[in-house]
Symmetry: none
Subunit: 197 residues, 4 copies
DNA sequence: GATGAATGAGTGTTCATTCAT
DNA sequence: CATGAATGAACACTCATTCAT
């Protein structure tokens, strides 16, 4: 039987890294901590990741795929979008960002030290893609009339900033109760929102 | 005799700490780096700050005073506020947050690791004060009719999140050109904004 | 059943060890390096040698047999030795030592750290045997008159020192062209040499 | 009073390094060992040497100066050299090499791994200078008639090889008693020697 | 027999902190 | 007050060795 190349162990280390890097930052997080958290021995971390930096690098870049899947798509084509679908999309975005606290803190860590981390480029690309997508959504909404006129580019920038800030400015407890508040405020960035009701 | 409270040297060390902590995080920043940046000798840092942690602590809490002055006040009383004054206030907020990149990155660093840093409480208090102030502003705007109806508490949370995100999500270059975009989007969180015009 | 004593694989590992130990010293040489050089897998090394030390030990002691065969013998009996045979013997010694660079570096490594390596004793014994042999040769030469009078013991020590130094003091390139020089100088240690011609 | 920039401590570390590197080789020697041997704390080594490699580098290159002083000079000019002075010079060489066991083992360590250590070049240069000097001595001796004809270049190579081998092939005890033997054999490399008497 | 994942002792190095000058 | 030599705890990383497959 083929060696299963135990991906399960790699995954445990990866998740432990994500959790600890987001709690303590890159430097404060030690390999030993990660090994303990993952329930493997010290040296095993180096079996799956060449060094600390590579592990960190993986923690930054790999989850982007999941983000792409959940965030840069509607269930249908953009052209057939209705206001209800739009509201759902925004809700999905807020939920997803709020849920990804660990990951977003790592991202924030990289953004703050762009010269230090080369992963920055991949993140920039993702941000651009995300804002392009939001612009398209805004344009469709305006064309179809369920959104008031506005500058799509500004909406893109503001929307991404808001989602990041929503997750990073508050610690866990507060946020859970605030999901709805953030969803309503997110809609307002498009010129929509509760006041429409 | 008490230690000197405010020499020019202390200030230089403090500013150097602020800059380096925000660039490199707490752990990566060394006392030696700070001393070099401040143009003082290695041991002198310990003349003005008991240890690294106390210096960091100062970097987090001291600038809050300036924030209070610039952010939690209008030039007149709230009751006499007009729409133009409101727009100016929001503009001032955006400008001020965008300007304080270094400091906000340090703040973010603390927020992400609340168990590790006791400064968190002071920051929480400030956030509460800020959101209270914003709620009052929103209520006045609604009462006076220059803002549509909305939930003041939600506006407060959303507004703070947005300001933080605006500054922390993008690196310098992008931001300079985006000031107006952020001002417009900030107004929309109150239900106002360019599209109203 | 006993472990296999002499597979082709064992020989490959052995030769790789000899080469790498002489290039990099004991500590710098890793088992993984040896395995790669030998074209076998990592763990296979441990099939043929109990541990790193035993492999090193083998690298020091096993080649001594070949040395004995080539170095401690004349083709005829000592008593029938002529000057021509003596010159040939010395030439053979120089050639052989110059050729065995890898091995001699390992030997030198052991000599320099006698407390650390128990192989030292075997080497000492060999050195004694070699010097005894040289003394006999010198005595015969003097008795037969083709060598001037001299102290045979001193000749033995000097000759071995010279052969080791010739190989270990210069790196490869130089040596190739110097074979004759070393042969001539080796003869001079016996009081013979080109100037006699 | 000026800070004495405690050179004494640096010297202690340096000597400890020399001793231990020659006993154990580069890799086996630990900074901790050196610190203990020098009677300083662990971190102090790094106050005087940037890292292990620089310390080793110093151990190889710095003593060369002393070698130059003792080895590459006669007390008078070469032209006025007599046979007695020549014998004394050779005796001085043998004494000096035999005395410098530690250093020569380190040198040997570097020679054996030329790709690994850049110090090699300095050593090569020194070897060339030494052999040039020996050639000049040999030429003078032949010209003045106290040495038989011979190839000065070959003598240079052989002489250096012999001096190195004399020191590196035998461990301490043996050598002390052999000084005279080595001096006599060294003279023979020039075609001179006791048998001449 | 052959393999290589898992382990953890041991290494070089960094850096906050102390303290004598 | 200012300095920087001295210290040693703590870290990332290497590698010989074991052992399940």
């Amino acid at each position: 039987m083929a060696k299963p190349r135990s991906t399960e162990k790699r995954e445990r280390i990866f998740q432990a890294g994500l959790r600890l890097f987001s709690h303590n930052g890159y430097t404060k997080t030690t390999i030993k901590d990660i090994a303990n958290e993952a329930g493997v021995s010290f040296g095993t971390v180096f079996t799956y990741f060449q060094n600390k930096e590579e592990l960190f690098n993986s923690c930054v870049t790999e989850p982007l795929e999941e983000f792409r899947d959940h965030i840069l798509t509607t269930h249908e084509t953009l052209d057939s979008m209705t206001y209800e679908m739009f509201v759902q999309l925004v809700g999905r975005h807020v939920d997803f960002f709020l849920e990804k606290e660990h990951y977003l803190r790592v991202v924030q860590y990289v953004i703050g030290q762009p010269e230090r981390f080369p992963e920055m480029e991949v993140l920039d690309q993702f941000a651009d893609d995300f804002m392009d997508f939001i612009q398209s959504v805004a344009k469709v909404g305006m064309k179809k009339g369920f959104l008031p006129e506005g500058n799509p580019e500004e909406i893109g920038y503001g929307y991404l900033a808001f989602l990041m800030g929503a997750r990073l400015t508050f610690t866990d407890h507060a946020n859970v109760q605030l999901t709805n508040a953030f969803k309503n405020q997110a809609l307002r960035l498009f010129g929509a929102g509760i006041t429409e009701g």
